[in-house]
């Protein structure tokens, strides 16, 4: 009985989250699409023609997996950050806190909203890339698995940001100054093995490197290591971040007095 009630509550939270980002879909979904088209036209074609192939594929094809995973991660992250911070700011987080919902369900509701937006943005980016690239699907499980776990990981990380943010500035600081640089330095535009030391060794410490390489393997069949290992590392990171988010929400940090 309680399980059915939790199911309806979860559905209610997810519907609310999806409606929230679809109400402003131009602002929430199109920027990733526009950025991707610009990257593919400028770097993929205009500059990429001069570069030739990379790991045996056209440069536009090489950067596409990174661009998709960039869209997935940033959309999942910012969706939950803004949704959670907005709920705290406008106090409608109280609608959830006074309801008979365990903390893990509240975390799951917000995270699912972020995952849906992240995957939707990734799918749109892949769709608009079709005219500019030879989009392939080498390994379905790797592609979907890495995309899904990346979206979940970043959605949960976004919840932590939304929990601790004290102003709207704080909701974009991590995405702008941490997340995006890590993705760019994680081998989005180049194979990490071409970097000089010590940068190549440092890149191995960048978690985004594994996401990009794993996803690149899923689409192109080319990568530095086994995608399954990447997947399980991401699962581990997701459990850690998710556990932290659950513990903070359960303790009421920044949301109860």
């Amino acid at each position: 009985m309680r399980l059915a009630a939790y199911g309806f509550a979860y559905r209610g939270m997810v519907v609310k989250q999806v409606r929230r980002f679809l109400r402003a879909w131009v602002q929430n979904l199109l920027p990733s699409v526009v950025t991707t088209v610009l990257f593919l036209v400028i770097f993929g074609h205009l500059i990429g023609r001069e570069l030739g192939t990379m790991r045996g594929v056209d440069y536009a094809d090489f950067i596409l997996p990174g661009l998709i995973i960039l869209a997935v991660a940033t959309n999942a992250y910012s969706n939950v950050t803004l949704a959670f911070y907005g709920a705290r700011l406008q106090r409608h987080i109280e609608e959830l806190l006074v309801a008979p919902l365990p903390a893990w369900l509240i975390v799951a509701g917000f995270a699912t909203g972020g995952v849906i937006r992240g995957l939707l943005a990734g799918a749109l980016v892949a769709l608009v890339a079709i005219p500019f690239t030879n989009l392939q699907l080498h390994h379905l499980a790797a592609t979907l698995g890495i995309a899904l776990i990346s979206a979940l990981l970043f959605a949960l990380a976004g919840l932590l940001n939304g929990l601790y943010a004290r102003s709207f500035d704080h909701t974009s600081v991590v995405a702008t100054f941490v997340l995006t640089p890590l993705i760019y330095l994680g081998g989005l535009f180049y194979p990490v093995e071409r970097m000089p030391e010590p940068w190549q060794s440092l890149a191995v410490l960048n978690p985004l490197y594994y996401m990009i390489e794993g996803f690149r393997y899923g689409l192109l069949g080319t990568g530095s290591f086994a995608w399954a290992a990447t997947f399980w590392v991401l699962v581990g990171a997701t459990l850690v971040v998710g556990g932290l988010a659950w513990a903070l929400v359960a303790r009421g940090v920044r949301i109860r007095t």
Partner: protein, 314 residues
Amino acid sequence: MTAAAIALQSVAKRYAGGRVGLANVDLEVPAGRFLGLLGPNGAGKTTLVGLLTTLVRADRGSIRVCEYDVATQAVAAKACMGVVPQEVNFNSFEPVGEIVEAQAAYYGLSPRRARERTGEVLKQAGLLDRREQSAWGLSGGMKRRLMIARALVHRPRVLLLDEPTAGVDLEGRHATWELLRGLNADGVTILLTTHYLEEAETLCDTLAILDQGEIVARGDTGELLHGLNVQTLVLELNAPLDAAPALEGLAMRLTDRWTLEVDLPQGMEVNDLFDRLGASGVRVAGVRNKRNRLESLFLQRIAERAAAPPGRGT
């Protein structure tokens, strides 16, 4: 014996910075009662509601709602409560119907049942025609009614209302009163905080007065009012007076030549007063209370507490 719908035992809350929210409060509201919680600003009313809803965490003490401990059985305790907060706390960009339907879902109602109940409570609150409209466009009074509708969507056994009629016009306030009376008649236990003493006197069968985090008076509304030390009557005179008459044991003063104020001590009947005034040649055309009786009680208890040595409650 009726089970307590709400029970607080030795509950204390101190905020960061040292401000006392509640100091060792004991309070019990039997099922089916209508409790009015009164107190000046900062007395601890909202803190008490926050503690019941788990939005505020107690430093110590036990809090039970519908016999469930809110600390250890929070999900079960919250399932039987409906909450109307003091401040608007819904997403104003969402349509009215979506706000209520979402809340119904959070309480475990199926989508079909949530839609049905949303229609019912919006109709009850007079907002059915606004169902598709964004909450942004609602007036202040309508927003308050929306929060009441939202709190009722899952048919709570206990309803907590934190100043639900603040800023609501007279018509809206009376409509809310009717709604609350009906719910209480149906067996819903209600805890209402308010600054409108007339509202508390009209609606509540039980009262508690909070001041600086402590309960300084509590009991049945009638009994508390009966215990007033003194009430001030305003008499409209049939003929003007130049000076207030001197009657033993009665404090009287003229506010103008046609109006006499009398402090009527506890135990003296109004009939006695009129007899003595009549014997003095004073004829009375009309009489009214200077203050609402509850207002007198409220001010009396707050004043008693202010005069008491520190640490001594009433």
